[in-house]
């Protein structure tokens, strides 16, 4: 029947933190009064306490759900040896967009492949606007229609057709409504890069190389790789363009809209230099913009160039979100693009000036409805795939942006959080990420194992998939496509009538 029925998703494999002490929201303190009766071990639904050789101890603080617990051990303890408090370390992590609750719930997904059961806010952050003020609105009894609440997961279609022009290019379908955004070789370690790509390949979708070349290690995943052509043209060769099914032009990125990139000399190691055909130790500037493109006609020339080298490749155009983002989108369509990828101003993983991250260009929540409506008015909305990125953190964000008018999304930061990024924002300083994610330092890179990284990313996205299926069912729909542009499925807290 449907093609997507044939695709088999991989299994979740439990993959705990790579650190000795995972950070949770709560801590349980056990005093010397403990008589090792085992009551806490017996009643805790989350496996926080462990009995070993006649002694009881708190093995997994991080699994404790605190006041949400239906059977609190500290109340049940016959000798009051247990006390519960909030973990001070927890509040040191994260920020408004990714508060500690979101980090911890993403880690839960990466470990168990499902949403946290209690104790953590896993749907929204604390930014006080945009996604965090939007709510999915389920009409009374909606879930009674459609596929019903309990059918097999395969009855709900989350797939994404990437070629809607129906031209000579590949007819490509992503099995999930997301793919991996570009993070270059050099900005992240090869292990991080491979972990992401392997996970996305296993999910039947794609992952972009970013602008740092196309390392040979990626060859086994050629069919799931999107290679990027950006302003520095680092590592771009005819051979790499021919190897893939999707080529992405990066005109701008949300982390630093309107600004070029800068890889510090320290990060230009021999490996990076070889890949980028540059000199070891010299800083690399990726200019802004493409100095060969100042109009839609120039842009079309770029697209045609790709089509001449690889006629069946899909062309994606990644742009940021200026005031006239709608003109840019429609121009990209007429230039022959299959995918218009809008990268909102609050996202991005790369190092960027804080002034740019905060102030330049508009958040994705504004850009998508603007573009969706403009393309509809132009009569071409169903001929192009609209991808959103830039600050999407949860499956709820995905559902919201699709209801605002996107077809699918691109992720980056969430993948890094699955690898235990704590958002200390020091990716670029010194030897790079101290947690071994965004670094090319040979010692720090060893902090992540390929298998572990792959499974963590995979688990998180399997949890996202499960949650999206639940949401689609609850809307009474059978396919995510039905949700596109359905702003009537959303409510914004600031505009709700009292």
């Amino acid at each position: 029947m449907n093609r997507h029925n044939k695709f088999e998703f991989p299994e979740v494999i439990k993959t705990p933190s790579r650190f000795r002490n995972p950070i949770g929201k709560y801590r349980l303190n056990r005093t010397g009064d403990c008589i090792a009766c085992g009551k806490c071990v017996e009643i805790c639904p989350y496996g926080v306490h462990v009995m070993k050789r006649g002694r009881v101890f708190v093995k997994n603080h991080y699994l404790c759900v605190g006041p949400d617990c239906p059977e609190p051990c500290h109340e049940a303890c016959p000798v009051q040896a247990l006390s519960l408090k909030r973990n001070p370390d927890f509040d040191v992590m994260g920020d408004f967009r990714w508060p500690p609750d979101l980090l911890a719930s993403t880690w839960h997904m990466a470990e168990f492949g499902e949403m946290p059961q209690a104790g953590l806010e896993y749907r929204i952050g604390d930014s006080g606007g945009g996604f965090d003020k939007l709510r999915l609105k389920f009409k009374d009894g909606a879930s009674g229609h459609g596929s019903g609440p309990d059918g097999p997961d395969e009855d709900v279609d989350l797939g994404l057709d990437l070629n809607r022009r129906n031209d000579n290019a590949h007819r490509i379908r992503a099995e999930v409504p997301f793919y991996g955004g570009g993070m270059s070789y050099g900005s992240v370690s090869i292990t991080t890069m491979l972990s992401r790509i392997k996970a996305f390949a296993a999910l039947g979708t794609f992952c972009c190389t970013g602008e740092g070349g196309y390392p040979d290690e990626l060859k086994p995943y050629d069919d799931n790789v999107i290679t990027q052509v950006a302003t520095g043209l680092f590592g771009v060769k005819e051979e790499t363009i021919r190897r893939v099914k999707i080529v992405e032009f990066k005109y701008a990125q949300g982390a630093k809209p309107g600004l070029g990139g800068h890889l510090l000399g320290d990060k230009v190691t021999p490996g990076v230099a070889r890949m980028r055909e540059a000199v070891v130790g010299y800083p690399l500037f990726s200019p802004f913009p493409f100095h060969s493109v100042y109009s839609v006609e120039d842009h079309k020339k770029h697209v045609d160039w790709i089509k001449a080298i690889n006629p069946r490749a899909l062309v994606s155009v990644k742009v940021s979100t200026p005031n006239d983002v709608d003109m840019v989108a429609v121009g990209s369509y007429y230039a022959g693009a299959h995918i218009i990828h809008l990268d909102g101003s609050y996202g991005g993983t790369g190092a960027a000036p804080d002034i740019a991250k905060k102030n330049i260009a508009m958040p994705i929540e504004y850009a998508i409805p603007k573009v969706h409506r403009f393309l509809q008015d132009e009569g071409v909305r169903d001929k192009i795939t609209v991808i959103a990125s830039g600050g999407l953190r949860t499956p709820h964000d995905v559902a919201k942006i699709i209801a605002l008018g996107a077809d699918g999304v691109c992720t980056g930061t969430a993948d890094l959080v699955a690898l235990e990024c704590i958002r200390c924002h020091n990716c670029e300083s010194g030897r790079g990420c101290a947690r071994g994610i965004a670094t090319t330092d040979p010692e720090l890179m060893k902090l992540i194992e390929f298998e572990w990284g792959t499974q963590r990313v995979l688990n998180m996205f399997l949890a996202w998939r499960k949650e999206l299926i639940r949401i689609i069912r609850k809307f009474g729909m059978k396919s995510l496509k039905e949700l596109v542009g359905r702003t009537d499925c959303l409510a914004h807290l600031d505009y709700m009538k009292k």
Binding site: S17, F19, R20, N21, I23, P88, V92, F96, R97, R123, S127, G128, G129, K133, L136, K137, K139, D140, G254, P257, G258, L259, G260, V296, V319, P322, N323, V328, S345, Y346, G347, G348, T349, A352, P353, D354, I355, K357, K358, N359, I360, M362, Y366, K370, H396, T413, I422, C424, N426, C427, S429, G430, R431, A434, R435, T487, A491, Y495, M496, K497
Partner: protein, 465 residues
């Protein structure tokens, strides 16, 4: 083309250990004395490089910690923790927030633009300047690559009257009104803050910075003494209503300011009579009636108007209104009356970050004043002890002028580069073209309502998630 304007910066160390957002709490009790302790494995060498600041008697460890939490997550006895620092949270006030203060300290120390990875961490939007975004260009419009020096972006502006057209005599010579303007290479004028533990050295340091930057330092004429008398060209004295007149200002002064008062006209005439070459700015409060005041100043031939808002960027009378809108009201009014190009509009109050300079200009100002940032550059914690005549915890009054100047030059160097980033992304090569470019900005109040305004209906029985 003017010669390229570059602000040379070099790191200038702090005199006191800055207050940090969080601190390390490490217990000794129960330590296993592991052969390979997580403290020795610190990527940043924090535990090895820690030292005692003998002046403050505090440990430098928290200032080096980069919050990777690896020691917290690695210690087998879980003896190391991090905790938010209440002293940090208590810095400043709701407007001059701890984050803004820490960011200004960093820029004054390093002269660098704050750069960080992994996306924007802050709130979606906020009051005042935080409710607008600036535009960028791609594909359909060119950007300018200013920061890496491949294209020259000018941040220079003129203060004074620019005539709408030039008149020539029959022989081709310039006829009529001569150009009387002061050029500054940066649209930022330094201004004495409303409080601070200041000494002659502090004020001299600021004057030195103004000279080095090529801009001006505004201060009441009563604060001008021997320490700054040689800096006349770089000073902008504020004339008090009972001043003996411009004879009291140092030699070389090009521009003075007169605050709005019942008799502002008399004071202005008095100055003009004594020294017709002086440029005069009149300061009006950002409050009810400012548009009319501004128009009346234009009618009287005043060429520079200074709109002063409160130190928290709000109107001086109506605390619910923000200077972003105040500047727009006056600018729009002047445009409507067809006189905007004849004068220079300056804005002050609540300029706390580099982005505020660009945004104030987009709203219609030609240039801005900054006051508290040049104090915070000197490690001020905005504790306001000095306003109660208590000692300054960071002894600003004891800082030498050379240190003061270097810190302020660093701060302005970082702000200049950030202005270039914003202008470059917009594709604007001349700061004078940034003025009033509202079409190249996006405002929360427009966007939010147009996108989400229709999402307010929640029918009976709906479930929100």
């Amino acid at each position: 083309m003017p010669s390229k304007y570059v602000i040379h910066t070099k790191p200038v160390s702090h005199r006191f250990e800055p207050v940090t957002r969080s601190g390390i709490i490490a217990w000794e009790e129960g330590c296993l004395k592991c052969a390979v302790c997580v403290k020795k494995q610190c990527v940043y060498g924090v535990y090895e490089n820690r030292a005692l600041d003998s002046r403050q008697m505090i440990d430098s460890i928290d200032n080096q910690c980069m919050n990777c939490l690896r020691c917290v997550q690695g210690c087998p006895k879980e003896l190391i923790h991090k905790s938010l620092n209440p002293e940090f949270k208590a810095l400043g006030d709701s407007y001059w927030s701890p984050e803004i203060i820490a960011r200004l300290w960093y820029q004054a120390e390093t002269g660098k633009i704050p750069v960080s990875g992994s996306g924007y961490p802050g709130p979606f939007s906020g009051p005042g300047f935080d409710s607008m975004w600036t535009d960028m260009s791609e594909i359909v419009r060119p950007t300018r690559d200013g920061i890496h020096g491949r294209e020259y972006i000018s941040t220079a502006i003129d203060l004074g009257r620019t005539p709408p057209y030039l008149k020539f005599t029959g022989s081709g010579d310039l006829n009529g009104e001569s150009l009387s303007v002061v050029d500054i290479p940066l649209p930022i004028i330094l201004r004495l803050p409303g409080f601070g533990s200041l000494s002659d050295e502090t004020i001299k340091g600021w004057a030195m910075a103004a000279r080095r930057l090529g801009t001006l330092m505004s201060l009441p004429e009563g604060r001008i003494n021997d320490a700054v008398k040689d800096f006349g060209e770089w000073l902008m004295p504020v004339i008090s209503p009972d001043s003996p007149g411009p004879g009291s200002v140092p030699e070389g002064v090009r521009l003075v300011e007169v605050p709005w008062s019942a008799d502002w006209k008399g004071i202005v005439r008095n100055i003009e009579e004594k020294d017709p070459s002086l440029l005069i700015s009149v300061k009006i409060p950002m409050a009810e009636g400012m548009e009319e005041k501004a128009l009346s100043l234009v009618e009287e031939g005043i060429s520079i108007i200074h709109l002063e808002a409160g130190p928290d960027g709000r109107f001086l009378d109506d605390r619910t209104q923000y200077m972003k809108d105040g500047i727009r009201f006056v600018h729009t009014k002047l445009v409507g009356e067809g006189v905007r190009d004849e004068l220079t509009l300056l804005a002050s109050g609540g300029l706390a970050m580099a982005e505020h300079v660009a945004k104030a200009m987009i709203c219609g100002a030609d240039s801005v004043f900054i006051d508290f940032p040049i104090l915070i550059a000197l490690e001020c914690r905005m504790c306001r002890r000095c306003t109660k005549e208590l000692s300054c915890p960071v002894e600003i009054d004891a800082a030498p002028s050379t240190w003061v100047a270097a810190r302020v030059i660093n701060l302005l160097g970082a702000w200049h580069n950030q202005l270039l980033e914003v202008m470059g992304a917009m594709g604007i090569r001349d700061a004078r073209r940034l003025r009033g470019e509202e079409g190249r900005a996006m405002f929360f109040e427009d966007l939010d309502r147009s996108v989400f305004g229709s999402m307010g209906d929640v029918e009976e029985g709906c479930e929100l998630e």
